[in-house]
Symmetry: D2
Subunit: 127 residues, 4 copies
């Protein structure tokens, strides 16, 4: 059930330590879940058009080893858990077999007014 | 008529060459014009609420000298020119008296459908 | 012992949900600890010149309320804990009295070869 | 002689106008030239290891149409021109046949001290 996609690290992802800057791992996590959604025909824009949003309410990253310029990083994404209102993704970033980072994001469904709401039925497609 | 504000370069702005990554200069230019607008009580959000947007249609940057981690960069911004539909800002980034970069952004007023429209009257406050 | 500094959210920090993108909170956390270091005369570049690095090994963010374009966000930073090798910072992002986000970063001292090493003595200045 | 590669726009690339933020086009340009280099076995890290850097000295972008979340943007890159010291890339960003943006970056070869130097011989591989 894991989804995998690849991403080449660009110069703009690195910092002066010569490694991928720590905030960019969250960008790669988002790329992982966006590609997972696309691969499962989950249309996030349609959900937004219905007035349901899935903002991140918590994120956690453990940094195991540096990603460097020009590395091809594999982003592994899994839908880890759902409740009526929340959705949790798990992620691993790998270079070959080396785990560079792992983490999670927790999302809560809200309506336009920012109130908690039920996840859209289409979330079932992600599972 | 120039507006000046300061910005401290963070680690996340640098790349592995040890200098500010070249796309981030456009972020500093935006900071310059946002602070200029705030200082002249120009309410960009109110303009957007009227359905007028001012997207960038052209940007140019000349990179003169590197900005480094922890540098306090002065952003100098000026409204360089306006027509009925377009607005041009000029920028210089400085560290003390050294010019690090200079450039321009050209903005065109559009409506929600993306059609060119007249600049809002409130633009006069910027001049 | 908390350090506070302010940051104005720019357009480039937002995403199409109209709020600050979730990775940018980590950039604000870095700004918080960089300003804290500057205010306590801790010279991180000097530490790097000695061959000691303090990469982030874990980051956690809880998102409480959205930060929006033009908001002045107060970044509150505290050195939460140290061991011989690790340093933990705690952060809160606030708009007036509203907590927008809170989180931590855990840093480990490493040498150029990436091996754990003792924190430099100058870390005491941060406490 | 044009190189083409694809990039999916993520949420983090957009801003509250619902389109790709204007600084991110420069990130896509860098991705274009990095992929072009990789496809022609040009090892930029090896050039850096020799002490030669190719920083951007000028960048220009013309924004023709918005790129949106989830768009697959084609990045078209060409080595437009070289002198003994400088290298110019041209870029177009497309969605299907629609040109979203076009621009150039001009790079100058410098040594570690920041002095202009000759382009490395390996640049010929890019042509």
């Amino acid at each position: 059930m894991n989804h995998r996609c690849d991403y080449r690290v660009i110069y703009g992802d690195t910092d002066q330590m010569g490694v991928m800057y720590y905030a960019n791992h969250l960008r790669l996590f988002e790329r992982g879940r966006t590609e997972l959604m696309a691969s499962r025909n989950f249309d996030y824009s349609a959900v937004e058009a219905e007035g349901i949003y899935l903002p991140v309410v918590e994120a956690n990253v453990k940094y195991r080893a540096p990603a460097r310029f020009n590395d091809i990083v594999t982003i592994e994404t899994v839908v880890a858990d759902t409740t009526r209102i929340t959705l949790r993704f798990g992620y691993r970033l790998l270079r070959d077999d080396v785990v560079l980072a792992e983490g999670i994001t927790l999302h809560a469904a809200i309506d336009k007014a920012g109130r908690p709401t039920r996840l859209p039925a289409s979330v079932a497609q992600l599972l």
